[in-house]
């Protein structure tokens, strides 16, 4: 039974209230027809007896209490899916935006998805070569992982994401696809992504969902869900290896806060709703691999840390859910280091099982541990040098300082088109470690130093 209601009983922020509705279910989609004939989409978020509270995605501006017609669609929020979505551009609610016409759906799927049963998950182990030394060696990306980039306004996270897409696609076969979800990003940022996808010939493998900064804010809550539904379809139904880029998660969380406060919910930290963790988890946990399909969903969300503060609720809760993080650092960026990856707080939790002889190289674990430990020693030496001056430092501290400079200048720094193999990256790391005496290589056993580091020392001498 589909009924149309004339008029509304209350408008509050992005919510409207209807009294006397029958037969409405929780999370049902509704269509709201305005006086001027335009149609907006909404969703039932609360029901109390015969009263339904509806969230209007495009906002309530211009909605009148009297002449608005509301129609219950009898369906939950669904995305139309078919193999032809690849190469298309959609708006934040999953409607085609590129003027190429509607999608003829093979199936429709609820955008909220369902949790993957942990029993049916495959533990991700396959290394994805991004061609970026710092990521490949120290925070290895694994297929099926969720690895966010923690950045700040004005830093080069977009360039980094584009480089990862381009270089990861080179290593992969034709089953590779990219799903790009833009939430509240500027038009030119979306354009930058689109051009670079075209330049590197991956556009035919990209599905884009765009909610730009001038698009309705509440729609942003839906955008990543549409993107992930598409990604799950491509991965688990069609067996593709999908890389999902979601930018900017901060804008998403702010939309959620706005929606929550308009519902009159009790705010948690910094005004974000208490369920921010669960809500973010319902997005990030949609990465992974399952037994019954050979495809995978790998997520690369980008978030700008407000005021570069990693303890802000958005990066903080994200870090608790995702399997590591890549942190960008403004001081490195100012030094001209690209990509400005701050190595010490960056981490890949799935790395330990996806590296080594079977996947990358035998010495990977030992070398990366030692690089971390030495670079952490560099920070101590620098702190000391800033107090007592470089001249007063011990020989070892001076060697560490030199190692630090070379590490940032040679290992971290690479050009936007430079695609290093994992072997090249590891060799570079070993060469840097070879500058240091054995006693500073405290994470390596004697045999490891001999096997991995010693060959590079000879080159230094000759």
């Amino acid at each position: 039974m589909i009924l149309e209601h004339l008029g509304l009983d209350k408008i509050s922020g992005s919510l409207v209230v209807l009294e006397n509705v029958d037969n409405v279910f929780n999370e049902e989609m509704v269509e709201i027809r305005l006086e001027d004939g335009s149609v907006r989409a909404g969703r039932v978020v609360m029901i109390e007896g015969k009263r339904a509270v509806i969230q209007v995605f495009e906002g309530t501006r211009g909605v009148s209490m009297v002449n608005t017609r509301t129609r219950m669609t009898g369906r939950p929020m669904e995305l139309k899916l078919s193999p032809e979505i690849v190469g298309r551009v959609f708006d934040g609610l999953g409607r085609p935006k590129d003027g190429l016409g509607e999608i003829y759906p093979l199936l429709r799927r609820n955008i909220n998805g369902s949790a993957i049963n942990p029993v049916e998950r495959v533990y991700p182990k396959n290394f994805v070569q991004t061609g970026i030394s710092s990521i490949d060696t120290l925070a290895t990306l694994i297929r099926g992982q969720k690895l966010p980039i923690f950045s700040g306004s004005g830093m080069r996270h977009n360039d980094l994401a584009i480089q990862i897409v381009r270089q990861a696609s080179v290593a992969d076969d034709e089953s590779f696809a990219v799903v790009f979800a833009a939430m509240g990003v500027k038009n030119d940022v979306a354009e930058q992504f689109r051009t670079s996808f075209e330049e590197s010939n991956v556009m035919s493998k990209v599905v884009m969902f765009l909610n730009l900064s001038n698009d309705p804010i509440i729609e942003r809550i839906i955008t990543p869900r549409c993107a992930l539904t598409a990604a799950e379809y491509l991965a688990f139904d069609l067996g593709m290896n999908v890389l999902v880029i979601m930018t900017d998660m901060t804008a998403y969380c702010e939309a959620l806060r706005e929606f929550s406060s308009s519902k009159g919910e009790i705010p948690g930290r910094k005004g974000f709703p208490g369920y921010l963790y669960s809500d973010l988890a319902s997005l990030y946990e949609r990465a992974g691999m399952i037994r019954e399909s050979k495809g995978s969903v790998t997520q690369l969300p980008i978030l700008t840390m407000p005021n570069d503060d990693i303890t802000h609720p958005i990066p903080d809760l994200t870090g608790f859910i995702t399997e590591g993080q890549i942190v960008l650092d403004r001081a490195l960026e100012a030094k001209g280091v690209y990509p400005p990856i701050s190595v010490l707080p960056s981490l890949s939790r799935l790395m330990k099982d996806g590296i080594g002889e079977q996947y990358t190289r035998k010495d990977h674990k030992a070398v990366s541990n030692q690089l971390f430990a030495c670079y952490s020693g560099v920070q101590d030496a620098r702190a000391l040098a800033s107090v007592v001056g470089e001249d007063e430092l011990s020989e070892n501290d001076r060697l560490l300082l030199r190692f630090g400079r070379d590490f940032e200048g040679q290992f971290l720094t690479q050009s936007r088109t430079e695609n290093r193999t994992i072997a090249q990256s590891l060799d570079l790391g070993c060469r840097l470690l070879a500058q240091l005496p054995d006693e500073l290589l405290d994470r390596l056993q004697k045999e490891e130093i001999e096997a991995y580091i010693e060959p590079f020392r000879e080159k230094v001498v000759s």
């Binding site: 037969n23 409405v24 279910f25 929780n26 999370e27 609360m46 029901i47 007896g49 939950p76 609820n110 909220n112 369902s114 949790a115 993957i116 049963n117 942990p118 029993v119 049916e120 998950r121 533990y123 991700p124 099926g144 688990f236 009790i266 705010p267 948690g268 930290r269 208490g274 369920y275 963790y277 669960s278 988890a281 319902s282 990030y284 946990e285 037994r291 019954e292 303890t311 802000h312 609720p313 903080d316 870090g319 608790f320 859910i321 399997e323 590591g324 993080q325 981490l347 939790r349 674990k365 971390f372 430990a373 952490s376 020693g377 702190a383 000391l384 107090v387 007592v388 430092l393 056993q445």
Partner: protein, 583 residues
Amino acid sequence: MNKYRIYSINGPIVTIRGATELQIMEMVYVGVKRLVGEVIGVDSEKTTIQVYEDTAGLYPQEPVEASGSPMSVSLGPGILGSIFDGIEKPLSAMAAQAGAFITKGVSVPPLDEEKQWDVTVTVKPGDVLSGGMSYAECDETRAIRHKLLVPPSQHGKVVFAAPNGAYRLHDRIVTIQDEHGGTFDLTLCQRWPIRIARPMKERLSPVVPLICGQRIIDTMFPLAKGGAAVIPGGFGTGKTVMQHQLAKWCDADIIIYVGCGERGNEMTQALTEFSELTDPRSGRPLLERTVLIANTSNMPVAAREASIYTGITFAEYYRDMGYHVAMMADSTSRWAEALREISGRLEEMPADEGYPAYLPSRLSEFYERAGRCVTLGGAEGSVSVIGAVSPQGSDFSEPVTQNSKRFTRCFWGLDKALAYARHFPAVNWTTSYSEYIDSLSDWFSENIAPDFTACRNRISALLAEEARLMEIVKLIGAQVLPDEQKLIIEVARVIRTGFLQQDALSDFDGYVPPQKHYRMMKSILSVYDQSKRLIERQLPVSAIVKTGCFDRLVKMKYNIPNDELDRFDELDAENEKALSAVG
């Protein structure tokens, strides 16, 4: 049973209008799909229910059916080696029925009802049984013998006892008759409400350590069997790796691992790893002594709240059979957040940081369910609880960390700076503490070495002294310190890298028996004592460093296998010789 109709729906909270006969904490089935829910509020105007499954698609006016009993779990053989969600739905059976994604309203019995268990009945007609006594046994896995216990509320004389043989879960094994003539059938299975602690006969004091094979824990901050510990740490500090390490290596008989609002991949990892690794004591896969409860972060939030209670109920059930059980809860912060989320939906008055005012009382109730005791059946058992806490922004002053600290006696604080330097386990030795050190020192003296605790205290004092000296070094550099203090810094470095650091992924450094902890401490301290004497005779520290003693100490954890402790004698002799040579 009475049927009611849904009035309102708001996220996981559903209400029924008007007064009902439902009891508070009663389990109910909501909607035509029979979603599991629990009554959390009753008054004359409405009854409030929290639903443990996704409420999307639910209509008002759908039926709500009472179950007549509080939220309970089934206890019986078949729990071990399984993976459940927060309300004891078996995830493997659900996957077999519904595929890779969790669909709601799937009805699968929690324990396999068709499987035949080879039961040995241990009572005969005429025997008198009281609550907690065993009436039959079966091999649940090859590692663990399952004792079937009379429910605590039942007692009576055996009037029927089945012969030994193969039985299914709900087959009658024994019938007992109480003094009023009422009979009660005992099967292989019983139900127990998850929010009520199972009774015990007598509490015992915690004087036996839970040996985990981790140096920073067993030696520095030991946990007693029946004790409770808390691991707070920001993201990336290694909480989960540490919980996994403890689950793998601690010397409990049974492990209950609760993944409460954490990552799906972590549970998959635990599942695969535990089925591949073997228990060093029984030689069987670790999974045979483990129960996994997985309520990942994207599964319904209300079931996350219940998962902790489901876990501790399992733990108490095995404790009652006379086993030592260790329960890992990763992470209790997610559980507290679930409480906060539900409290917010109920529009309760928030206290600290939006958490409900009853957060401390819930936490204390939970941690008090740990303990070493004499069970109703007369055996000795224990439940140890290790709870991870994920403080927001790594700020240990937040309510969950602070309250957990009050109700536990062991605090293993994880430190971001250590984790960034890849010093693992990243337990900070200055902020962590264990209140069990004194009560466990007798055990260590008797079972490891008489001066074990004395050595431990000396190591701890050296670390504290180093922390003090580092404050000075930060300002003026290490060069200006007198040699005596430089030596302390060198030795503390050896302790940090050679002793406290432990590689979870290494072949034999992953688990190290306490005997080796002791020998390592002894070797470090004897080099320290000897070097100190040399320095008193004006020998510079650099000369001692050149002997290579410190390097040998740092590498001893890798160079001396766990079962060749005699080789410490060689190491000590070598160090002594090298030091005598320079002196």
